[in-house]
């Protein structure tokens, strides 16, 4: 056992922290209020190497480990979960999927610009009637011998409008059920792709979320990822790793809210003393601190397992479920500690609370994680 971070990991954490606290914080409230996409910030993050952190340098990435990724995600998410979700989708779904399962041509053509952050990607799995139940894909990818023809609708797509490269999950052989599903790399500008309106979300309002409609979209044969019918397995394995990203995002929301609550409690006075001196507040902070530490340890363990090529299904589900649930609890308590101030936007914690809610829902709801966890416990 070794709980020490390397010098490089600590430098990456500090770099992410500096970027978030110097740059993201400046306009995070305005972008939330007006739903403005953080174009310039993402560009800078890409220059620093945060958009393809774990991709091999030969494919434009930074070649970092997953531990570094967790540390960076936490720091960015403390300030701005909209930016960190764009980062997470690009890193742990799109780049990870292509880096691990794409062939050489696909990596050369699509991974390099994605990992270097020249363009960003989106992952299109959810459908109006298939969220947690991803086996029932209504979107079809008909095999037309020399190409595929995609038809259908995808929902809740992060970065749908800003992304240049889509990874689309669709059904090719309905008779084979989930074994007939494929994953495709699709150019966002392909004829036949239209976007639904910008979703007016409760939180993470600076990220752009849309539904995406496919109408006879032609996709070249060579853009299928893996063997025919690999798509469902692909999606599941990618999401399994992606959970570490969202878990770390939830962790950052919780620790960010905790830091703000602790700072406020040391300043604000009531009944003649700083409210931190009241046990009612001190114990809340204590509970937050234990939860945050537990979530951090779960995230780091899942990351360590991934870095050491060990199974991560259980660990990433635990990290995601726990971190998301405590993010909701800790951000809610942070609002409580701030009292009336916590309920106004200027103090940030109400935004963190709105953002935390989404971590319990996307990339596998907390309930889906519990299915994964309990199945593991009960099997055999």
């Amino acid at each position: 056992m070794n709980f020490d971070f390397t010098e490089e990991q600590l430098m990456i954490k500090q770099a992410a922290r500096d970027f978030a606290q110097r740059e993201l914080v400046l306009d995070v409230l305005e972008r939330d209020e007006k739903s403005i996409f953080p174009t310039q910030h993402i560009k800078k993050l890409a220059e620093l190497g945060f958009m393809g952190m774990m991709v091999d340098p030969e494919y434009g990435g930074s070649g970092m480990d997953t531990i570094s990724y967790v540390l960076a995600m936490e720091e960015i998410s403390k300030i701005d979960a909209s930016v960190s979700v764009i980062m997470s989708v690009n890193n742990s779904l799109v780049c990870y999927g292509l880096n691990r399962f794409g062939n050489e041509d696909q990596k050369q053509k699509y991974l390099i610009p994605l990992a270097s952050g020249e363009v960003i990607g989106a992952f299109l799995l959810s459908e109006p009637e298939a969220g947690s139940d991803a086996t029932h894909q209504h979107t079809t990818a008909e095999d037309k011998r020399d190409h595929y023809l995609i038809n259908g609708t995808k929902n809740w797509i992060t970065s749908a409008n800003s992304a240049s490269t889509y990874i689309v999950i669709a059904q090719t052989h309905p008779d084979k059920k989930h074994r007939g599903i494929n994953a495709f790399i699709v150019d966002r500008n392909s004829p036949g792709i239209t976007l639904g309106p910008h979703e007016d979300k409760m939180g993470m309002r600076s990220s752009d979320t849309h539904s995406v409609m496919f109408s006879d979209v032609v996709v070249p044969k060579e853009n299928r990822i893996g063997e025919d019918g690999f798509g469902f397995k692909f999606a599941m394995m990618v999401l399994e790793a992606g959970r570490i990203g969202i878990a770390s995002q939830a962790l950052g929301l919780a620790s960010g809210a905790m830091e703000r609550a602790a700072a406020y409690a040391k300043e604000r006075k009531a009944f003649g003393t700083e409210i931190a001196n009241h046990q009612a507040i001190a114990f809340k902070l204590s509970d937050m601190s234990v939860k945050v530490e537990n979530a951090r340890n779960l995230c780091l363990k899942a990351a360590w397992l991934k870095d050491n090529h060990k199974p991560i299904t259980l660990a990433s589900a635990m990290a995601k479920q726990y971190a998301a649930d405590i993010a909701m609890e800790v951000t809610t308590e942070a609002v409580q500690i701030h009292g009336g101030y916590g309920y106004v936007k200027e103090y940030h914690v109400e935004r963190l609370m709105r953002e935390a809610k989404l971590t319990q829902i996307y990339e596998g709801t907390s309930e889906v994680q519990k299915i994964v966890i309990s199945r593991d416990l009960l099997k055999g």
Partner: protein
């Protein structure tokens, strides 16, 4: 052109300061160490000059024990080409300047932060220039390379002075020298370990000062409110209590 940037390894600026040994030494338990903020700006300006062309290498140097290497590697991650660590604790300004003088020959421009944020000595840059017999300008808020010499902006009372000065030069830099320190890119972080970090033995030099004891500033007194009707009392308070009048 070769630039040397002097790097001081200092406690993070948010460190809670404590002393040990009957207030004779700084308690460094649990302290996070950083590049002295002024030196970090100096390094940023060095990078800008290199990017503008005309600079071959940027070297960073510090006097410190092995524990200070992460600070030097951060400077390498930001973009310095190589680093020198003189293997001795940084005892006082003269000791540090004497050590640096051994490695600083051969550079055309030496950038030193105006002071280190730990002891605020404001002395190493000037001493180094004196030992080396280099030109030196203090309070530099801007510097550009002009052929073989430098165009330097220096802050003076009520304005600023523009100088042209030949090298080798020790520029003691302050606010304005660069906008803000750079965040190291991941590629830089990964390359930092591959860049040369030379450990040089210290030379014989004796420190000229000794720490007798440290004192923390008195805790901030509570804010005193004066009623509108007693406005005149402010004068009395400023005179008798605050002693500023």
């Amino acid at each position: 052109m070769k630039i040397l940037v002097l790097i001081s390894n200092v406690p993070d600026t948010t460190t809670k300061i404590r002393f040990t040994g009957d207030n004779t030494s700084f308690d460094d338990a649990g302290v996070q160490w950083i590049i002295n903020p002024w030196d970090e700006l100096a390094l940023t300006r060095a990078m800008e000059l290199k990017e503008a062309g005309g600079v071959d290498t940027i070297t960073v140097a510090n006097v410190g024990e092995k524990s200070t290497e992460p600070t030097l590697r951060k400077a390498l991650a930001v973009g310095a080409d190589d680093a020198i660590r003189i293997d001795a604790p940084a005892k006082d300004a003269f000791f540090v300047a004497a050590q640096l003088a051994e490695v600083a020959k051969g550079y055309d421009l030496i950038l030193a932060g105006i002071e280190a944020s730990d002891y605020n000595g404001n002395a190493v840059g000037g001493m180094l220039a004196e030992i080396l017999d280099f030109n030196s300008v203090s309070a530099v808020s801007g510097i550009n390379i002009e052929g073989d010499s430098f165009k330097v902006n220096r802050e003076i009372d009520g304005g600023s002075q523009v100088l042209t000065i030949s090298g080798p030069l020790v520029a003691i830099v302050q606010k304005g020298i660069a906008k803000e320190p750079r965040i190291p890119a991941m590629r830089g972080i990964m390359m930092a370990r591959k860049k040369p970090l030379v450990v040089a033995p210290p030379v014989d030099a004796h420190e000229k000062t000794q720490f007798v004891n440290f004192e923390l500033p008195p805790p901030k007194a509570a804010c005193k409110m004066v009623d509108e009707e007693n406005a005149k009392e402010i004068i009395t308070l400023l005179h008798e209590e605050a002693k500023v009048l």
